[in-house]
Symmetry: C2
Subunit: 356 residues, 2 copies
């Protein structure tokens, strides 16, 4: 489940023009971008009809009032094109995406279901590569796939396959990650460079005429989350900055807690290649999706320790404190290298469709 | 989750020619039919890589070894075309399909997740109708949608939307529905007329030049299952005869229990309109999918009582005992009105694609 689904309440409180009714007429690609239009679609259409106290909490995974143990459920559909990209593929993404939605709730991923929608003409060899990739990732994550379904739709122009996974996890600790717990002074942490996934997918769509070694960061972040929990880091809230990127995710957290978030330009880790690619292609780095990064708001006293713990993992060697929470005002602000501050709004329209 | 996913082990034991490797080359529409090709795809590709003791049980829903309570997980993708058909729509189907996969395991549906893949160009009004339909069905079923996700893919020729739902249910009783418990003498029961769903979808695709009032039978069967459990009916196994129809479902049960199943032509309930349509269109009634029927194998002593209980529900007023289990031989046999017996094999290829 994408955070976008449940963070819509956040968006409708924003002061930007919300009058245009985006959910009449045709669904456009921007409705799948994770930005404002996705938000409107979810709030004004899906939650309008399907909302309930659990769904309305708008979390990455739904914590269920179960018997004895705290459990969490989530779902995520994957439609990435191309199916294979440097650093990953739709299979790996479909497992990591759902594990990560559980992980950012503090839930240990245990079981996964997968619904496959295959386009006739997809080569079985292609599908097998995808499934092998899922199996490898499940094995690494120690998660069981327990149910599946397959449907086939008519031929298209390219090989296509959509995978919807649902995940079931358990909360084995007593802490609650909830934006309501965010206080002024709390620090913002990311577990690594931002935007590698979206850059890798974009660059694998066509040849832009420059060489690069950019790979998707797609990975299961549960080992990182688990290490932070075990070390009793006071985690106030956690997200994975997927569609809409760091800027959209932090805007959502800011509105959810009613406080301002300030991040510092030089502190946000980007790979030099992603930076160069974004510059050449006119993309805003702060809106590029990652698929294997965690974004946490932690108690100030634990921030340095949290970063140290993360950096011990190869997948998080670039972990950093990137900013902090303030109680004057709202929204997300970027302190530039020159010391000036500018607001970073929620993603408008789409940056790049079908990145996950 | 479609039974087809997990009933593949059944199929590969069959003696029909299994040598042609169906999972090399292109995926075809028959791979989504719920018949033999779907089975091969699942067994030789999906389960080959993703199999585990829970998945390999090949049940409609996966029972999870949870803390304290017995819980079940399932998933089902829905790609039906057209999106709306007499008696239902993809929204209603997406809720009922998943509730029913839980119900036939004896699990009470509690929570559902939904992943929407929308085709750009889908009208928001269309989507809203679908979502309203889901909401109505969830309300009726007393099931909560707790997580969702939305992705948008490029424009197509027709309005399209795919919905993958995952369901979480609890088993509040001590009985186990498992084909291993089937014995000679057990009776086969269905809860109503067979094939209405597939006939309704087919007839709404184009005008075949005859008037009819055929409606899909799509419905949540949990109330029926619950009533049978409460009455302590000794249920040996249960399925919902969706893709592949009655013949495929009973073949799978026959192989799973290692016994023969005999059904009697005059006893299987079909609506006269579905019968007439199947005759005109050259379709085999025994392979037509239902989406709101249960198929149960029950202890002989409880069979009459079970049918009486079912008939008290409007959705099951045509419930009937349609056959019985024998311990001489294997497979599914049809006793015709003339008294002769002919085998009904598992569905080969496809009858009609995208019915669910």
């Amino acid at each position: 489940m994408d955070p976008a689904w449940f963070q819509v309440r956040v968006r409708v409180q924003r002061t930007i023009n919300m009058k245009d009714n985006l959910v009449t007429g045709d669904i456009g690609l921007a409705h799948g971008s994770g930005g404002r239009k996705t938000g409107r679609l979810i709030k004004d259409l899906f939650l309008k009809h399907l909302g309930n106290p659990i769904a309305n909490r708008m979390e990455d995974a739904a914590e269920l009032p179960a018997q004895g143990t705290r459990i969490a459920l989530t779902t995520d559909s994957h439609v990435v094109q191309p199916l294979f990209f440097p650093g990953g593929d739709i299979g790996r993404l479909s497992i990591c995406g759902t594990c990560n939605d559980l992980a950012v709730k503090g839930a240990k991923p245990r079981f996964i279901t997968a619904g496959f929608i295959l386009r006739a003409g997809l080569r079985a060899e292609t599908l097998e590569k995808i499934v092998v990739s899922m199996a490898e990732e499940l094995h690494k994550a120690n998660v069981l796939l327990v149910a599946g379904d397959t449907k086939v739709i008519e031929t298209g122009e390219v090989e296509e396959c959509y995978i919807t996974t649902a995940g079931f996890g358990v909360l084995e600790h007593n802490s609650t990650f909830a934006p309501e717990r965010i206080e002024a002074g709390d620090k913002v942490i990311v577990s690594g460079t931002i935007g590698d996934h979206e850059a890798a997918v974009l660059l694998s769509r066509q040849d832009f005429g420059f060489e690069h070694h950019i790979k998707s960061d797609v990975a299961n972040i549960w080992p990182l989350v688990s290490a932070l929990i075990d070390a009793e880091i006071d985690i106030k809230a956690m997200r994975d900055p997927t569609r809409g990127g760091l800027a959209t995710t932090l805007n959502e957290l800011s509105t959810a807690c009613g406080k301002a978030v300030l991040i510092k330009e030089g502190h946000v880790p980007f790979s030099s290649e992603v930076k160069a690619a974004a510059e050449m292609l006119g993309l805003d780095l702060y809106y590029l999706a990652s698929e294997g990064r965690l974004l946490a708001i932690v108690n100030e006293k634990d921030a340095e320790k949290a970063v140290e713990i993360l950096q011990a993992y190869p997948q998080a060697r670039d972990a950093a404190i990137i900013g902090e929470v303030h109680d004057d005002g709202q929204g997300l602000w970027l302190e530039t290298l020159l010391g000036s501050q500018r607001p970073l709004l929620i993603l408008e329209g789409e940056q790049l469709p079908r990145i996950c």
